[in-house]
Symmetry: C2
Subunit: 261 residues, 2 copies
């Protein structure tokens, strides 16, 4: 792990996720992005879209995170209540943002539709927060500082979430280094190489993380992926460690196969 470890949490808001109606692809996308930005994504939460569910979850997440990224609950319907619930959780007043209100007015006027209370809601942001204009939809992303923790609240529509997350990364410079590389080993069971992995990780004293993924079941001809990753402050050091550990694993695998281990 890097000298200054930065912890991130992901919150997914929505009953449709808990009920299994929707597979949570947003979670993986956010996890991937934060990991490669050098964060250790340590906690993940899925909560109902109720005021209490959302408030409880955000309060819990900020307690042990440098960064929290949520998706879901920013749209114009009655159950899109993430922003107001987060504001309540941290005792922040909601204030009308004139810039967002103008965008909403333009949008709905052009569609010949009234600006209902549910639609206007998207222009009310916690006092002191920042917003990122939505380049593919209507609801803006909201950035809130809660003590030392940055909270990034994004919509749940994947295209909107992805676009806003990219903009947030650029704007708030999530600078950090993470390297990850895998090799595939044929004719090797996960459990055969396990003691070697344990030994190598111990020798590297927490500087690398090694994970094996079986690519088929433990049958006569098993196949595994061995993934090595490392966090660091310099990309070259980080890549060097990963490379040398992969070489060591390949070597161990060969010895195990030839019966020399």
């Amino acid at each position: 792990m890097s000298s200054v470890e930065r912890i991130a949490s992901i919150i997914s808001v929505g009953n449709e996720l808990l009920k299994g109606k929707t597979v949570n692809t947003n979670f993986a996308h956010i996890g991937r992005m934060l990991t490669f930005a050098g964060y250790r994504v340590k906690y993940g939460y899925v909560c109902e879209d109720t005021p209490e569910g959302i408030a409880e979850t955000f309060k819990e997440a900020v307690k042990h995170s440098d960064l929290v990224v949520s998706s879901g609950g920013l749209g114009p319907t009655f159950d899109d209540i993430t922003v107001e619930s987060v504001a309540k959780a941290f005792s922040m007043k909601l204030v009308k943002n004139d810039h967002i209100m103008a965008i909403l007015r333009n949008h709905y006027t052009s569609l010949n539709l009234p600006l209902t209370k549910e639609r206007e809601k998207m222009a009310y942001l916690p006092i002191g927060s920042h917003f990122i204009e939505n380049p593919v939809g209507i609801a803006p992303g909201v950035i809130i500082d809660v003590g030392a923790c940055k909270v990034i609240v994004l919509p749940g529509v994947p295209s909107e979430m992805e676009a806003l997350l990219g903009l947030a990364r650029d704007q708030y410079a999530f600078g950090g280094v993470y390297c990850e590389k895998s090799i595939v080993i044929e004719n090797m069971m996960e459990s055969t190489i396990a003691p070697e992995i344990t030994r190598i990780m111990k020798e590297r004293d927490g500087k690398v993380y090694i994970k094996t993924h079986p690519l088929n079941s433990e049958n006569i001809l098993p196949k595994i992926e061995v993934e090595v990753s490392s966090y660091g402050s310099e990309r070259t050091d980080c890549a060097e460690i990963v490379k040398s550990v992969l070489a060591e694993i390949s070597d161990s695998a060969l010895k195990l196969k030839s019966g020399k281990k």
Copy 2:
């Protein structure tokens, strides 16, 4: 909601989920199954495969659940530590299960492989727990009663998790009723029907839950799915409520389109 509401939580164990390497399809599968068995799936967690991460998460989940289902971390590698971490969390001793040990011995002997410490680990279960034999793999599912909360610990390989979850459902009779039905409304924006949805849900006094899902973006010809669901004790009552609410929504949508609302 039903007269006796039963709360479930889902725990997904694994760094690969937090890092976004794997999309968490298990979560959706478990959520779907528990929902249709009449559970309100209220909390979801994703945790690292560290002893502390797992222990903390299980302790938190059992606090407010009647049922906890986890997946991940039951295999034969160094980072498969869910069972031992859960045992530690609830101060339960691990004891060797002779039946599972015999299965492991048979399995690895037939593959001409030694029964390493990492492989033997799968036969150590928390004292007082039950197990379900794995019909598609090796690691058994583990059922632990923690006070009034039932904890079901399953492997992360989807085919194994799904098979064991089905067996657990049959064995522990997750009896409950949940109905869900959707209609698709063309030429209707989510935000246009939102006030009607709010009104209908209020009138039904918590007996139904209505959710809208936009099927495309809020453009000139929007399309939404309206989903109505209800928990209950009798399947016929439950289905009846859902049916009548869907009819009411269709009617409202027609009136909105013809300008009568």
